[in-house]
Amino acid sequence: MFNQLIHNIAIWLDDTRWSTMLHESYYMYNWVESTHVLTLMVSLGMLFLIDLRMLGLALPDVPASTIARRLNLPMLVGFTVMVVTGLLLFYAVPVRSSQSIWMRIKLVLMLGLLINAVLFHRRMSEAGSGWDAQPRAPRNLRLGAMFSLAGWSVVVTCGRFIAYDWFDCQYMDPGLMSSLAGCIEGQTRF
């Protein structure tokens, strides 16, 4: 059902000309991947500074709202590039990526982190600015920041693990892991 649908879409993507071209071009593919990695410095770089500021671990004597407001735009620019290059990487190797357990954890977690970010934003405006000069933010903002730091670290780890073939469909027997990864019994394309 779900896994079959994903697999069908992946096969369809895999058969498009641009997917093959991207996949087979050594320089193009590697530059897209390098851009995905280098942009971590912008997206997660800004995000880490904001979260660490909330915990009082970075720039503790710069007003928290200044950090959150001023670093927001570069962070979002970074995330936009991450998403575009990420989608391209996926498109270049659609069948294998769609059946990667790490890719799946990464996507679900990113959805959770997106919700967390929206909540954080809202709490931030509700919290007023009475605590702005304190090194540490109020408790609920700190919890949001901790979840964000931990979650994005796992996202990075999952991203890095995609490249390894430990749980590739060719090497797994049918079972819970293989259905979570999205493997289809008797599939011929990997």
């Binding site: 970075a58 200044t66 990075v156 890095r160």
Partner: protein, 194 residues
């Protein structure tokens, strides 16, 4: 050697001298000999505890790689916030001195993380990277970047910034961003080469 011998810019002069000597070395025949001489050292690295651990447990190596990437993100944040401030593009309502000195602490922690995880990974793939030019470019870039950061940029920023030519500050900011993105790019390229 007493630093005062070279006047107020002793560290800058030393850094420039090191760069010149490195350049001379890179262009001379001595480079090949030293490279040959280093092979046993790299072979030995693979036999160290780090090397054996990195080669035996793929999951450990991959996790350390991930921590290397987290260090990269943190370094990026520290560099871009500080240099963006010097370029007057972000945090413009906060004093430059404050942003730069606080970012420097984040930078140091990121650098320690990167060097520790980097050395671990290097032990696991020592002989492979020994033969990869891009690995040596990365180390050259890293050495240049660290010398620049600690011996040129920080001493300049420690002065009263009102007395420093604003174009010098901007040029330093651009140089810093360029060197760290270059180190990161060569780092990623190590992984592509087999």
């Amino acid at each position: 050697m007493p630093a005062s011998l070279l006047g107020p810019y002793s560290r800058t002069i030393l850094a420039a001298a090191v760069l010149l000597i490195t350049l001379g070395f890179a262009l001379s025949g001595a480079r090949g000999e030293v490279h040959n001489g280093l092979l046993p050292f790299f072979e030995w690295l693979e036999t160290t505890w780090f090397g054996v651990a990195g080669k035996t447990w793929g999951a450990v190596f991959a996790t350390v790689q991930s921590v290397h990437l987290l260090g990269l993100a943190l370094l990026g944040g520290a560099v871009l916030a500080a240099e963006g401030r010097l370029l007057n593009v972000i945090l413009t309502d906060t004093p430059r001195e404050l942003v730069c000195s606080r970012c420097n602490r984040v930078f140091d922690i990121a650098m320690i993380t990167l060097v520790a995880t980097g050395v671990f990974m290097a032990c696991g793939v020592a002989v492979k990277i020994y033969y990869l030019p891009v690995y040596w470019y990365k180390m050259l870039g890293l050495a240049a970047g660290a010398l620049f950061h600690y011996f040129v940029r920080n001493p300049v920023l420690a002065q009263d910034l009102e007395n420093v030519n604003p174009w010098l500050l901007k040029a330093m900011a651009v140089a810093s961003i360029m060197v760290w993105f270059t180190v990161a790019a060569t780092g990623r390229w190590i992984g592509f080469s087999g």
